[in-house]
């Protein structure tokens, strides 16, 4: 069965301020959506809210993921259900290696399916990890480093995509994965993500404010977010239009939203 992420009238306050003012969006497995918009429009708030960050709890609305009420689920349950967020700012966890972390994540999934699961064997895990690292052109030594500790911006983003490749989510959100990547790294990461759609029918919500990444991940749909709302949706041509004209024409069109 094809899973979907269905967001209905989602409102999120951060502190006193309402950041998301009623988001509606439907992302199905196998589809690629781009969510674009200027800084401060609420894109990352949406990402954090969907992942279950306690500081971004919704004040109204519903999110249905694969037939279940996503907002009722703990962050780990959301992940095990097949949702993935590639963080804009991945967190360093000192003393926990990339390999150990990923093995725990895989085992948590397996135990989610079967309480008595013994976990992935070490050799099988090593094979899997090497294979995924090769696709992303990563040095195998990377697996032994402490998670995100001392990683360059590009390394952090690659590590996020490595996690995505390993965990094989049904729907993934990439939050500004393109920022901080040089053009070669961007290509590898974006093509990697793109190929995951083909490999395991992953649905993808690509959050970005540049069109650049979309040269390598061709979206089926493009949405523009401003002032906490999706103001415009269209096909890939919308991204090109934004690249051409910037956001100003939309600001003029929806100026009141930006002010609110």
């Amino acid at each position: 069965m094809t899973a979907a992420l269905e967001i209905r009238n989602l409102h999120v306050n951060v502190g006193e301020q309402e950041i998301l003012k009623g988001i509606d969006l439907l992302v199905k497995q196998g589809e690629i959506h781009a969510l674009m918009g200027p800084n401060g429009s609420g894109k990352s708030t949406l990402a954090y809210c969907l992942a279950g960050h306690p500081n971004y709890a919704p004040s109204a609305g519903h999110v249905i993921f694969d037939g279940k009420d996503l907002l009722e689920m703990e962050p780990d349950e959301r992940s095990r259900a097949g949702l993935f967020l590639a963080f804009q700012y991945p967190v360093a966890v000192s003393g926990v290696t990339v390999a150990n972390f990923l093995r725990q994540a895989i085992n948590a999934r397996r135990r989610g399916d079967d309480e008595d699961d013994k976990g992935i064997s070490i050799p099988a895990f090593r094979r899997l990890l090497k294979e995924k690292m090769d696709v992303l052109n990563m040095d195998h030594k990377f697996a032994g480093r402490y998670l995100n500790e001392g990683f360059s911006g590009g390394e952090k983003k690659r590590a996020e995509i490595l996690q995505m490749a390993t965990l094989e989510p049904k729907i993934a959100i990439m939050d500004e994965t393109d920022s901080g990547l040089d053009i070669d790294a961007l290509r590898i990461v974006a093509e990697g993500a793109s190929s995951m759609r083909d490999q395991f029918d992953m649905g993808l919500l690509v959050i970005t404010h540049y069109q650049r990444i979309l040269n390598y991940i061709e979206p089926n749909y493009v949405h523009v977010m401003m002032g906490g709302r999706i103001v415009e949706s269209g096909g890939p041509e919308l991204a090109l239009q934004l690249e051409d004209k910037g956001y100003d024409w939309l600001r003029e069109k929806y100026g009141s939203v930006e002010e609110a």
Binding site: A51, G52, H53, P54, E74, P75, D76, R78, S79, R80, L85, F87, P90, V91, A92, V93, S94, G95, V96, N100, F101, Q104, A105, A108, R109, G112, Y146, Q163, L167
Partner: protein, 444 residues
């Protein structure tokens, strides 16, 4: 324990008295020199007041609730204990190579002893301290509380000198690389032990020694007053791992000192998990040029445990290196204090001293204090220190959970990760695993 005599001053004197020392030394059938040693230590003990929080090293450990007279000296040699009650993990093989010397002491009685032919042929001496006093008097007279821990260090060191009982002696002769690791495990039903560890590595000798001590948690308060002496000769190398897992009824006082000769190395690992209260003085004396010392400490306090660790890295010669890393996690209402000092004597040039203490506070009511210190009287030195007290980071937990890892597992991973850098310094995998297991048990 009956209570009718506790407030009786006469009884107090009887428990810690010259007569009690006489009785102990007679019971142990000790030679005159050890009897004299104990009696002199008794005099020092009797003439030294109990430390108070006015004394700098005791500022953060208040002994007013310690009822010394209720505790009494070591019960070693007196308790009746079934060996079957000793937990299986004690003394189990931790080193990759099977230990060549294994000793299990239960309430001061040696209940298991093995020493391989290879080690015997090498002239390695490994035995309990009382056997050592009787069979190797020249070595004991030369090294026992003469250069390592001395009775004039304070009330508890003097008390140890007068009342010590049980413990382990290891001697490795000149230029001998001990053919296998050595492992001693001391179990006590109540934790009332005054054990002594004496390790002497002659010039050019090498050994790995694991020293475990543990006890059942019993209801009555008990005292462990121990001493550890690690004397490492020129060009010698010692790996020493002590694993402490006493019951939470035990008040532990311990004086521990390593000395290194020219180009000598000591790799000293301390894992501390048990006791109600621990006051430890751990010192390395780098006496000769080329000396190298690494001190790695791991502790985890919970409940109402109180650990107070005093470490000193004394660079008494030029061209010496010391590297200390102590990491502790704290839960519930527990408390830890680490007070570290690097000292360099005038003329101790080109030394490299490093000390770091890092603490992870897991509960609001737990408290860690971290006090680094430097006293450097030489000018061409490199000395650095670092200390941190941190809490569990919600963002780290969220990040791990966002990958499907349940909260409890995420917390465990962060705690394990916190300890990992000091774990990596432990050269014995089994010791790493033992400590890791205890950490996980403590995290819950």
């Amino acid at each position: 324990m009956t209570t009718d005599v506790i407030d009786n001053v006469g009884e107090e004197i009887a428990v810690y008295s010259r007569e009690a020392v006489e009785q102990l030394t007679a019971e142990l059938n000790e030679p005159a020199w050890m009897r004299e040693f104990r009696l002199e230590a008794w005099e020092t003990f009797a003439n030294t007041p109990l430390p108070t929080t006015q004394d700098e090293p005791w500022r953060r450990t208040d002994l007013r609730r310690l009822k010394l007279q209720n505790l009494g000296p070591s019960i070693n040699g007196q308790a009746q204990v079934a060996v079957a009650d000793v937990p299986d993990y004690l003394g189990e093989q931790l080193t990759e190579d099977k230990a060549g010397g294994v000793m299990l002491q239960v309430d001061g009685e040696t209940t298991k002893f093995e020493l391989s032919d290879a080690l015997r042929e090498q002239g390695v001496i490994f035995c309990d301290m009382h056997t050592a006093v009787n069979e190797h008097p020249e070595l004991i007279q030369k090294h026992f509380m003469t250069r390592g821990v001395t009775v004039d260090e304070g009330k508890f060191a003097a008390m140890h000198g007068a009342f010590w009982r049980g413990g382990t002696f290891l001697y490795v002769p000149k230029n001998v690389k001990a053919a296998a690791p050595l492992h001693s495990a001391l179990w006590s039903t109540e934790g009332r032990t005054y054990t002594h560890t004496l390790v002497v590595l002659d010039d050019g000798a090498e050994a790995t020694f694991i020293d475990e001590y543990a006890s059942e948690s019993s209801r009555d308060a008990a005292i462990h007053n121990g001493a550890v002496e690690l004397l490492v000769g020129d060009n010698a190398g010692l790996v020493y791992a002590s694993l402490q897992d006493f019951g939470t009824n035990v008040w532990m006082f311990t004086h521990e000192r390593a000395r290194t000769g020219r180009d000598a190395r000591v790799d000293w690992i301390t894992g501390m998990m048990g006791t109600r209260l621990t006051k430890a003085f751990q010192t390395v004396e780098l006496d000769q040029p080329g000396g190298w010392a690494r001190m790695s400490g791991l502790f985890f306090t919970s409940g109402r445990q109180h650990f107070d660790l005093d470490t000193q890295q004394n660079h008494n010669a030029a061209d010496t290196v010391s590297d200390l890393l102590y990491k502790g996690a704290l839960k519930e209402r527990s408390r830890s204090v680490w007070q570290g000092m690097i000292k360099a004597l005038p003329g101790s040039q080109r030394i490299d001293g490093f000390q770091a203490n890092r603490n992870l506070v897991l509960d609001r009511q737990a408290r860690a204090d971290s006090i680094p210190g430097l006293e450097i009287q030489a000018d061409d030195v490199r000395c650095t220190h670092a200390s941190t007290i941190g809490q569990l980071d919600d963002n780290e937990i969220f990040y791990l959970m966002s990958r499907g890892i349940p909260r409890e597992t995420a917390v465990r991973m962060v705690v394990q990760g916190f300890f990992d850098p000091v774990m990596q310094r432990i050269p014995i995998e089994g010791v790493r695993e033992r400590i890791a297991d205890r950490i996980l048990e403590k995290v819950g």
